[in-house]
């Protein structure tokens, strides 16, 4: 009996070393700041929160249900990673936060990424010193209504805009050219797309040029 079964057992084990095929993740958009540099050249600036910073501490102002929208945004982005590259947690003290989310219009600043959805808008202030290329947290995210609270569509707009701005705070410093992506400048989709996932994964597995200061 064993003479009949043993070869099958050995064959099964020997042929069982196959790997699944990892996705190519080729369909991605540019996520880095492309800054003009001396002599007409360009400088490519990229950032990703290092593993040592995880979980990121996120504080949201207790208005417009921002803490809930922030939690939803954290979950949406965490789901895009397989290896714990980003983990977020809400904190109760803004003084401890890496990312601060408040209600209101974003002030006019140089390093600002702005989005304009239908019912609301958002902005993310990237705390980057362009001379030293050192980034000093916290990021400030601004979420503002374009219509009064309770207007149909406002809640989902706050949700997708908060997630969009969190995408900027995680290191996507450009907008996608595709309206099918959450990181499109005037976002309409409610969750990160495959392109958003590919982009954020590439951002977290490509050497960065911006240093983090604590």
């Amino acid at each position: 009996m064993i003479r009949r079964l043993l070869p099958w057992a050995v064959l099964t084990f020997a042929t069982s070393c196959g790997d699944s095929n990892s996705p190519l993740r080729a369909d991605a958009y540019e996520w880095r700041f492309i800054e003009p540099a001396a002599g007409g050249a360009t400088d490519t600036l990229s950032f990703a929160w290092p593993n040592s910073s995880q979980p990121l501490r996120i504080w949201a102002q207790d208005t417009l249900d921002l803490p809930t929208h922030a939690s939803n945004g954290i979950a949406a982005w965490e789901a895009q990673f397989l290896y714990g590259e980003f983990r977020g947690e809400m904190v109760s003290d803004s003084n401890d936060a890496d990312i601060i989310i408040v209600a209101g219009l974003a002030p006019a600043k140089v390093q600002l990424l702005h989005s304009m959805a239908r019912e609301c808008e958002g902005g993310t202030d990237v705390p980057l010193d362009p001379l030293t290329l050192v980034l000093t947290p916290p990021f400030h995210v601004f979420i503002d209504l374009r219509f009064t609270e309770g207007t149909p569509g406002v809640e989902s707009c706050l949700d997708l805009t908060t997630a969009h701005e969190l995408g900027h705070a995680l290191g996507i410093f450009q907008h996608s050219p595709d309206p099918g992506d959450l990181m499109y400048s005037d976002p309409i989709v409610t969750a990160p797309s495959e392109r958003d996932r590919n982009t954020i994964n590439r951002a977290y597995h490509t050497p960065t040029t911006i240093q983090l200061s604590r």
Binding site: M1, I2, L5, L6, W8, A9, V10, T12, F13, S16, C17, G18, D19, S20, N21, S22, P23, R25, N51, E78, A79, Q80, F81, L82, Y83, G84, E85, R87, E194, R197, N201, R202, Y204, H205, T206
Partner: protein, 205 residues
């Protein structure tokens, strides 16, 4: 009605050793450790990432009955607990803990009186400590194939010391992995070594 129940009770509490001796059933437990090959290989922007389980302690319970003079049939349940991590260029990220439960139907028989073979098929379930990473959408039950050897040494009147070595392989396709575009089937070979007690199988002196 009371009579059969009484008979069963007598068999269970008093007569089991007698049946054991007469039919040479299999009954054993083992404690040991299992090593598994990487759960997943990935490549993101040219960076290779390997997800690997740590060597995990396990507890195993098994039982069986003779099927033919030198063939037995049995069932085995194993639970193992360990951590898992992702390794990217030597940098490890702890991804938490996982528990694996496996159930195996097997055939077994002696090669020589003290050394027995065992082959089986069954299912293995990966239960993540928390829904995160490759197990964000939870674990899944997968096919399991196993082959191994058990060595018995007389220890007590009714029990042998049992040393079991297994080479297993199972598929692994967490929902989260397929959701992000992985294709094909990941096979995860694993080897384990356990020590425990078995109802006596070695001949009495």
């Amino acid at each position: 009605m009371k009579r059969p129940i009484r008979v069963i009770a007598v068999v269970l509490f008093l007569g089991l050793p007698g049946i054991v001796q007469a039919q040479q059933p299999d009954l054993y437990f083992q404690l040991g450790a299992v090593w598994a090959a990487p759960l997943l290989h990935d490549d993101i922007a040219g960076e290779e990432i390997t997800t690997q389980q740590s060597i995990a302690p396990f507890v195993r319970l098994g039982a069986g009955l003779p099927l033919a003079p030198n063939i037995g049939v049995g069932l085995e349940a194993t639970a193992a607990w360990g951590g898992y991590s992702a390794d990217e260029g030597g940098t490890k990220t702890d991804l938490g803990n996982i528990t694996t439960l496996s159930f195996l139907a097997n055939l077994n028989g002696p090669i020589v009186p003290r050394l027995h073979w065992r082959v089986g098929i069954g299912m293995i379930g990966t239960l993540p400590g928390e829904d995160a990473g490759i197990f964000l959408q939870g674990g899944k039950w997968n096919a399991l194939f196993s082959a191994g050897l058990d060595y018995y040494m007389p220890l007590l009147t009714k029990f042998d010391l049992m040393i079991g070595a297994r080479a297993d392989t199972h598929t692994l396709t967490p929902n989260q992995v397929t959701a992000v575009g992985f294709g094909g089937t990941q096979w995860v070979p694993q080897v384990s070594l356990g020590v425990g007690l078995s109802l006596r199988k070695t001949p009495k002196p």
